[in-house]
């Protein structure tokens, strides 16, 4: 009975979260005992009080219309922000990247309105810079204007100050993983003998292992010892805002997103991303968006908190 107004699409529902409106039943006191409603489209179980599927939004009182000529969803790759808050599925053909009306919308001051495009051609994916102010980088290498760089599975692509990880579509062949793990024991006896063989073997296995357990490359410890953070491979975002930073500094002088610490090829690089109160390395203030390489033992100041860099 409470569905009647929701079916009328022209009508907007005024949100009345107030408890004394009886029409809208909130989940809190309604559900527990009744059976969940399975969404016919995405199979998500929903509390019976929900009018729309909490996942895909389908109106649960209706049945979906099967449409015969929906194009087969081709497996495409995706871009994920380092903090995991945003994920974009790439489409075949051109995908625009920018700060305004883009397929990959990156709302950041260092990103141009029309920054770059990603071209998906069959199984290959390329990046082109569209004359952006702060540049596009693939695994740290700048994409020059008019140049095309290919994206490989797991590589990082940076637009201005924002870094994404590219994940290639899953291929039907899931076997190699098992082969690799069965090979592993046979490698073990050899492991300690020669350095060369170790390097070669671990190279072959690494792609399987890395996503599961990334190993910290160093740590960032506050001078008073009260805070300690691991530095992971890739970009470590630093800031005051919990949830969107990998290193959360509880200091009111730190900006929401304050700086990025990138660990790559054994080097640590610190970049202030335009914080209000600045980032200091050994007492010297960094220019915004100017990367600075760090050495073990360097003291860095975020807001009013001083950290020491330690390398494992």
């Amino acid at each position: 009975m409470s569905y009647d107004f929701s079916i009328d699409q022209d009508k907007t529902q005024i949100g009345t979260m107030n408890a004394d409106t009886t029409q809208m039943v909130t989940n809190a006191n309604a559900t527990q005992y009744a059976a969940n409603v399975i969404c016919p489209v995405c199979q998500t179980p929903n509390p019976p009080s929900e009018i729309y599927c909490t996942d895909c939004g389908f109106m649960l009182s209706a049945q979906p219309v099967e449409i015969a000529d929906i194009p087969q969803a081709q497996p495409t790759g995706k871009l994920t922000t380092v903090d995991g808050t945003q994920e974009f599925s790439l489409q075949m053909g051109e995908n625009t990247v920018g700060r305004e009306s883009a397929d990959v919308l990156v709302a950041h001051n260092t990103v141009s309105r029309k920054h770059a495009k990603i071209i998906v051609e069959g199984a290959s994916v390329f990046v082109e810079d569209m004359g952006s102010t702060n540049g596009t980088y693939v695994a740290g290498n700048r994409v020059m204007q008019g140049e095309r760089m290919e994206l490989k599975d797991g590589c990082e692509v940076t637009f201005g100050g924002v870094t994404f990880k590219y994940t290639a579509p899953e291929m039907p062949a899931g076997e190699p993983e098992q082969e690799a793990s069965t090979e592993e024991p046979s490698v073990e006896p050899v492991e300690e003998q020669t350095v060369e063989s170790d390097v070669i073997e671990s190279d072959a296995i690494e792609p399987e292992e890395e996503p599961q357990a990334p190993v910290a490359l160093g740590s960032m410890v506050s001078i008073d010892g009260s805070l300690s953070f691991e530095i992971m491979p890739g970009v470590n975002t630093i800031g005051r805002r919990a949830g969107s930073n990998m290193i959360v500094v509880p200091d009111s002088y730190a900006s929401g997103h304050h700086a990025d610490l990138t660990a790559e090829d054994g080097n640590f690089v610190l970049t202030d991303v335009g914080s209000t109160n600045g980032t200091l390395v050994n007492g010297v203030k960094l220019d915004a968006n100017a990367p600075r390489e760090l050495q073990p033992g360097d003291e860095i100041t975020i807001g009013q908190t001083v950290f020491k860099i330690e390398v494992i």
């Binding site: 079916i7 907007t12 949100g15 995405c42 305004e100 969107s244």
Partner: protein, 450 residues
């Protein structure tokens, strides 16, 4: 004739203020349930309505869909106004000598007169450094406060950054609960001392906003940096005023204070919660922050009877046919009367179909008009940028502005069209028009109307 100060929200005394429950004010397009509106607005200070550009979308492909979110504040006075906690952040650099200084002092006197004993006032001045002239306290001894103001002397340079920091710290020294707070930043020049970096100053204002402090930017004359003041107002959700002549300063201060006393909703934030297979492609004129399947933006504070709108562009993926809630829009705000944080929300429902006839019949012209206005604002931004960098000749700028002006007239945005006419006149007389136009852009982006 109307050469007076070009303010963002000119108050037309002849116009009756339309109440939030007046059907003319709230009805947008189709199917509005008058009873529910009345019910909602009696409980909530603001109402939210979301309208889709098209009620139908193609099930077999990717579609772009625009959503117009309109936020309307109730028109009725609800009890006594909340006390204000304001800080006047005043530029007393050398260039303020003569009439600007005299009128600024007079303006501050007006502010003191308008405040009541339970309001809180602080005054911070900046030139080479920032100083607290009067720490945050209740406005009891008005004569004494004015005496202090009259003793203000001229300094040399303009240390805007420290002025903002000190002013906001004065506002923050009073518990936020129970007050409508605001920092009024008044300046006539470019920052010339302290931290002069554009992004550092704007960044600081953004930080202050996250602590609930709104900054209104008031620029006097031709020398101040309109790009900077506009960015401050934009990030902060406060107002932007371009004061053309010193004798208009008191009037503008009075206007801002009245605006403040009429506020019903502060710290207004809009959050778009996306369902699966939906992406936010942009929120016009705003820089969203993203969470898991969500995008959030800060909106301007709302006065009684005032409305503002935002346009959200969504990308919708293909899926089985049927009705879907593609997004849920939530607006959270602090109610200025009760002091409580409230939320209103609205579902955006779209039917996915393969019927081309339905899709072409489902277009909502109201939303399309608003999109045109939003795009006019982008064009205006480009024109201003071109004028500033001197890449557009004055004659070409006038031609671009004429185009935007006639579009705004067509869309019923007469106030902004008038602003643009003023700007065109300025250009023709050989004076800069950027200071007027940045205000027009803020105003268009906020989609404010009364």
């Amino acid at each position: 004739m109307n050469d007076s100060t070009q303010m963002i929200f000119p108050d037309d005394p002849n116009k009756t203020r339309i109440g939030g429950i007046d059907p003319n004010a709230t009805q947008m397009g189709t199917g509005w349930d008058a009873n529910r509106t009345a019910m909602a607005s009696s409980m909530q200070a603001i109402t939210l309505e979301c309208v889709a550009e098209n009620n139908y979308a193609l099930a077999t492909g990717n579609t772009r869909e625009h959503i117009l979110a309109k936020i309307t504040a109730g028109g009725m006075a609800m009890g006594a106004r909340m006390p204000v906690n304001i800080c006047l952040i005043l530029d007393h650099s050398g260039s303020m000598e003569g009439p600007p200084m005299e009128f600024m002092k007079q303006a501050c006197g007006y502010v003191v007169d308008l405040l009541e004993p339970n309001d809180v006032l602080s005054i911070v001045t900046f030139a080479d450094n920032a100083e607290v002239m009067m720490p945050a306290r209740r406005v009891v001894n008005k004569a004494l406060i004015k005496e202090h103001i009259n003793r203000l002397d001229l300094g040399n340079t303009t240390n805007l950054y420290d002025g903002i920091a000190l002013g906001c710290s004065q506002v923050a020294s009073i518990p936020a609960q129970g007050y409508v707070n605001r920092a009024l930043l008044f300046t006539d020049g470019e920052p010339t001392a302290g931290n002069k970096d554009f992004s550092a100053i704007v960044g600081q204002v953004t930080e202050q906003k996250s602590r609930g402090i709104t900054v209104t930017a008031l620029g006097l004359g031709q020398e101040y940096n309109e790009e900077l003041l506009a960015a401050i107002a934009k990030r902060s959700g406060g107002n932007y005023y371009y004061i053309t002549r010193p004798e208009l300063i008191p009037e503008v201060f009075r206007k801002e204070l009245e605006t403040l006393m009429m506020l019903v909703a502060r710290n207004v934030r809009m959050r778009v919660q996306m369902s699966r297979w939906v992406q936010v492609r942009q929120i016009y004129g705003k820089l969203p922050t993203f969470g898991y399947r969500s995008a959030e933006v800060t909106l301007a504070d709302l006065e009684r009877g005032e409305a503002q709108s935002a346009i959200i562009e969504l990308g919708l993926d293909s899926r089985p046919g049927g009705k879907y809630r593609v997004a849920k829009v939530e607006v959270t705000y602090d109610d200025s009367v009760t002091g409580r944080t409230e939320t209103v929300s609205s579902d955006v429902v779209v039917e996915f179909t393969t019927d081309a006839g339905l899709i072409s019949s489902g277009v909502n012209p109201v939303v399309q008009r608003e999109i045109e206005v939003a795009e006019a604002s982008r064009n205006l931004e480009k024109t201003v940028m071109g004028m500033r960098t001197q890449q557009i000749a004055p004659a070409d700028a006038v031609r671009e502005l004429e185009k935007t002006r006639s579009l705004l007239i067509d869309q019923g945005r007469t106030l902004q069209a008038q602003d643009i006419q003023n700007a065109i006149n300025d250009i023709k007389q050989g004076t800069g028009a950027e200071k007027t136009l940045v205000g027009t852009i803020i105003n268009l982006d906020r989609g404010k109307s009364k």
